[in-house]
């Protein structure tokens, strides 16, 4: 929290595709990787540019939007509970699977637990009730089992496929 009269500290972040982002300190500190960078380099100059070689501009912009909102929610206390859910639902609604993937990879690299939890849960929900084929396609998994091997795995894990009516 910056005190009155004192200018807000801005953190400079540079993405893999060379874009420079100016982020308010509390938002940037949501990124564990940025936080530990400044923890390790305590005497880093104010205009230090933190390179983020694994993140490109588009997901970073999305992440900043998310973290900024959540930092504000936290500052307003728990009153935002409904608002948080509403915001999260709106935030994710328009995101394609590809954008979601980029966001997850970036949030994972930047180490933002809250956001990563939310994104991976979204993926889990998008995959619920889907067929094996669909999940394979969704993840781009190549079925490297031979039909015999797959059958053997199903047999080995018979106990995980029991107790449901055959359709």
């Amino acid at each position: 929290m910056s005190k009155l009269g004192q200018a807000k500290r801005i953190i400079f972040l540079k993405t893999a595709d060379g874009q420079l982002f100016e982020v308010d300190e509390p938002v940037a500190m949501e990124f564990e990787i940025v936080k530990s960078f400044f923890d390790e380099n305590e005497d880093a100059a104010d205009d230090t540019v933190v390179p983020l070689p694994n993140v490109s501009a588009e997901p970073l912009a999305g992440i900043i939007e998310f973290c900024k909102a959540h930092v504000e929610f936290r500052a307003n206390g728990a009153a935002g509970k409904d608002e948080v859910k509403k915001f999260n639902a709106e935030y994710i609604k328009e995101k394609s699977n590809e954008q979601l993937k980029e966001l997850i990879l970036a949030a994972n690299y930047l180490n933002i637990k809250e956001m990563l939890d939310f994104l991976t849960e979204t993926i889990a929900n998008r995959l619920k009730n889907k067929s094996v084929e669909y999940v394979r396609a969704f993840f781009g998994i190549e079925n490297d089992f031979t039909p015999q091997e797959e059958e053997a795995v199903r047999k080995e894990y018979e106990w995980a496929f029991e107790g449901v009516d055959e359709d």
Binding site: K85, V135, F139
Partner: protein, 450 residues
Amino acid sequence: MKFSFLMKKIPLFLLISLLSYLYLLSQYKTNMPKRGKKVKEFEDYQLYNTRMSKRNKMWKDDQQPMLSNFSDDILRHILSFVDTKYAVQTCVLSKRFKNLWKTLSHLTFDNMNFSNRMNIGGGYYFRKFVLHVFSHRDQSINIDTFSLAYDYSRKDESFMNEVTNYLVLYNIEELIFRGHWVDFCLPVELIIKCPSIKSLEMNGFGSEMLPGGFCFFMGLKKLHLSGGLFPYISQNHFDPFSSCPNLKSLYLGKCFLGGSSEFSVFRISGPQLVDLGIFNLYLVGHCRIEVCTPMLTSFTLMHSLPLSFTVVDLPALRNANVQFSSPPSLYHSNKIRKAAAYDLTNMFRILCHAQTLTLSYYTIEILSNAPNKVKHKPSPFTELKKLKVKVQHGENSTKIPAYVLKYLLSASAYGASLEVEQSWLLERGHRLAATASRGCNSRARPFLAL
């Protein structure tokens, strides 16, 4: 002559109209296959797309497949939000997945996923599955979260002993019991041997669940109790949470406090408590609630009628959310209306430090119905910044009398703002979000349809 001319003309006229009709019909007929063709083209296009997607490993809407970039850690993270039955079933996806489930540190079991026509509640297959998971998983991986949704009966005692004996080997942080646990008694062993438990959720528990009605988890930070019965034995203050001095968050939903003797004070002590939520608490007899929580910043009360609170100071309070759900017009007598207003204004004195106050419209109505309790009374809310009134969809008369507004807003040093919110849309959104979240009561849907 004129007549015969007409006679000649009429058939001609008829003929023309008949021809044009036939023409239109033929047009329509030629249109039909055209439409059919369009459908076919569309099908071909889809077929083409799926073929292309297979060939180019393209996903719908030109999306790249996801897994190629995901590490096992991320996959585990995703699977941690999936019921363990379906997480295990991912073993058939590919060789990479075959053993991935074994390294999961979140285990979520739900007997409803084993329920079928022959075996309602899925008991046998469910118990077998749980024990199989225990023996097949990688024993060196800690269990962080263990969730069990089950309808317990006394004959399951040996099964629960096996579960307990397995769980005490790990440093469990989050423990969740859902379903029905009326005859279940939380094993003392679990409490003693798992000091790592930070979060406990219990649903549908009976009076025997907590030894002596108290929680003895010293390290507990988060406690969520719902649909349960608290036994009340002693005549003194009932203070079940004093044994969890590190509690930060407490949720009481649809809990019933009763027992052999009537008691006078239900005390909620929490020297560290930050967040308190009370949702429909049933109290036997005339009981007051005493909140001894100096650090509390967020207070939520949802109930049918106001409850009686002992006036205490909550200096750290920032957000108060008070929503009563039954309209005062349905109260039986004037006496109840007056008592409700009395309890409500009393409770507001505890919440006087709130900066954000959220009230249901019925809560406002309780005040509107008792002008004597409100008019010319000093407003308790000296630090209020925002008053939110939630109006249910369909409540037409949403007028808030001037004396009620004055009572709520006049003491604020910040010139509090008023916000009226039509809550049905939000509630719906809220419910949608709730069903998507892991913390909700809805049973898991299958992850893989096999």
